[in-house]
């Protein structure tokens, strides 16, 4: 039995089927990226694993125990950070530590909190409130909070989608480093195939919804830490980039409806609006009326 196991999981909201026939096995220490379009059900999938939602069909087990409610054995990082705005970075993390380890001494709790703020390189900003932190720094607090629970598995729900390209690249490197240091089992949800290829051991596309399901896995054998530039020369990087994109764009096209319709595009020249409009009605200028003819000049 795999570490995290989803068997035949399905979920619908009302009459809309969101997920169907989800089978997923993740080994301990594995980093899996699930890639799909916005709105295809990725967040629903991670909420099921987190225990925030219950599946309508199938079972989800972590370490052979069925998941039925949220718990500190699963650390979650959300796209919108979800920090308490009236607490400092330190207090946000400490709050989680106090919940997860109520029997520890106050000193140990504080020391534990410091350790994880240091891991995400945020010690200098520990006393700032979320409003005084950039998006990237807020997401670092959220990562520290999730890891401070010492969870068995880390669930990342599009953690970098709200960040600009440069910050995103920096945090991808941080996630890669933290993962190497902690060897945690990670499930990353993303809409960026390149992010998955850069970080994960295995990439699984989620087809376009409604009724989304997982596609074939792509195993990434490129050794860590991965270099963004030299990765360009890796044969596997090239085939995977094409393969994942083609699979996902194809799954979306299957949902499209096609119709043949007669469209008419009138051939009319655009008017020069910088000229004053002539009084009265005028006929539109059509290209066939503009004819170039050879004329004789005296």
């Amino acid at each position: 039995m795999a570490f995290l196991e989803l068997k035949n999981v399905g979920k619908h909201f009302g009459t809309t089927e969101v997920l169907r026939d989800i089978d997923l096995s993740i080994e301990q220490g594995e980093f899996v990226a699930i890639v799909g379009f916005s709105g295809s059900g990725k967040t629903t999938l991670i909420s099921l694993i987190a225990g925030l939602l219950q599946p309508d069909e199938g079972t989800i087990t972590l370490n052979d125990l069925e998941i039925s409610a949220p718990g500190p054995d699963r650390g979650i990082v959300f796209q919108n950070y979800s920090l308490l705005p009236w607490l400092t970075a330190f207090e946000n993390v400490l709050l989680a530590v106090e919940q997860a380890f109520p029997n520890w001494s106050a000193a140990k709790k504080r020391q534990h909190t410091e350790k994880y703020l240091a891991l995400v390189n945020l010690s200098p900003a520990r006393d700032r409130k979320p409003g005084e932190l950039s998006g990237g720094m807020k997401q670092r607090v959220a990562v520290a909070r999730a890891l401070a629970l010492e969870p068995q598995i880390l669930l990342l729900d599009e953690p970098l989608s709200a960040l600009d390209a440069l910050t995103r690249a920096t945090l991808q490197e941080e996630i890669s480093r933290i993962r190497e240091e902690t060897r945690k089992t990670v499930v990353l949800i993303t809409n960026d195939p390149d992010e998955g290829i850069y970080l994960a051991d295995r990439i699984i596309p989620l087809t376009a919804g409604p009724g989304a399901t997982l596609g074939p896995s792509f195993r990434v054998d490129i050794p860590h830490p991965r270099d963004r530039k030299s990765i360009n020369h890796h044969a596997q990087f090239k085939t995977m980039r094409r393969g994942i994109g083609d699979f996902l764009l194809g799954s979306r096209r299957e949902h499209h409806q096609f119709a043949t319709r007669k469209l008419i595009l009138p051939q009319i020249e655009p008017e020069d609006l910088s000229l004053p409009r002539p009084m009265g009605r005028r006929r539109p200028v059509r290209p066939k009326e503009i004819q170039r003819e050879l004329i004789e000049l005296e």
Partner: protein
């Protein structure tokens, strides 16, 4: 050969409390009719400033611009602009948003024909079923499709695209790149697009203009991209030169965009007649 769009010594200076700051300095570029050119550079390097000057939305501090033999002064419907956020009027439907410009530019045409123009472009961008919805009822990708239809519907001489897919997720972006390139081919437009996405630039462009970091941003180098057209995403990714060019561009953005390192670069592909790419170094 004469050029369709010519930019001479385009310069933009902003007054600041600590004196004037030169954002763009002596920017020169010529674009042929029917060409697709991408401007690539870091955020804040001044690439959007160049585009908004061509659009007539930002005054020049120096230099001049000629489009199809006429000097450009101020904005006009001869340049169709697609912005990063589609800028649709929220109280009008997608169709009404497109009609707003069509009614102006084709004012002598009878109403049924003006409607046909809007319906045609909304249909070919994939909104045949949703053209009478308001922006709030559309996904972000669909709104940007309206933005593209609106620009093409005016039959502009030239298209100016300012990071049009920057706010979309990477998969939706791939879909819309295909929509854009097909419409561009169909209408044989001349296009200038600002982007910082290397894959997007390689897939769409005939030439990629790399800008150095501002202030005083200028053309760093120009990369010719000769992948065969019509282009299909998978085939372009399989092209033997694709990843060489990709690495070259990423490298430019990481290192050479800083002007002091500009002199050290060399072409990613040996220049040969059938090569998919060659590099022209800015002669300035």
């Amino acid at each position: 050969m004469s050029h369709f769009l010519e930019l001479f010594n385009l310069t933009k200076v902003y007054a600041t409390p600590s004196g004037p700051t030169v954002i763009v300095k002596d920017f020169n570029l010529r674009i042929k009719r029917g060409e697709f050119v991408c401007l690539i550079g870091h955020s804040g390097c001044g690439k959007s400033t160049v585009l908004s000057m061509i659009a007539g939305l930002n005054e020049l501090s120096g230099g001049g611009m000629i489009l199809a033999g006429r000097e450009l002064v101020g904005p006009g419907p001869d340049r169709g602009v697609v912005f990063q956020s589609p800028c649709l009027l929220p109280w009008l439907t997608a169709f009404e948003n497109v009609m707003l410009g069509v009614d102006q530019v084709f004012h002598p045409a009878p109403k049924p024909e003006r409607r046909q123009i809007a319906e045609y472009y909304l249909s070919v961008v994939g909104l045949a079923h949703a053209m009478h919805k308001k922006p709030a009822e559309l996904s972000q990708g669909m709104r940007q499709r309206v933005g593209i239809a609106r620009a093409f519907a005016l039959s502009p001489r030239m298209l100016l695209l300012d990071e049009p897919f920057g706010m979309l997720d990477s998969l939706t972006r791939m879909e819309l790149q295909q929509v854009l390139i097909e419409l561009w081919r169909r209408d044989q437009k001349t296009a200038l697009m600002v982007t910082h996405d290397v894959d997007e630039a390689l897939f769409l462009s005939d030439r990629i203009v790399m800008m150095t970091n501002g202030p005083e941003a200028e053309v760093g180098a120009i990369l010719e991209v000769n992948f065969p057209r019509p282009r299909e995403r998978g085939a372009v990714l399989e092209h033997p030169d694709y990843y060489k060019l990709r690495e070259y561009l990423i490298d430019f953005l990481e290192v050479r965009a800083h002007k002091k390192n500009l002199v050290t670069h060399h072409p990613p592909v040996e220049p040969r007649p059938a090569a998919a790419a060659s590099v022209l170094v800015n002669s300035n």
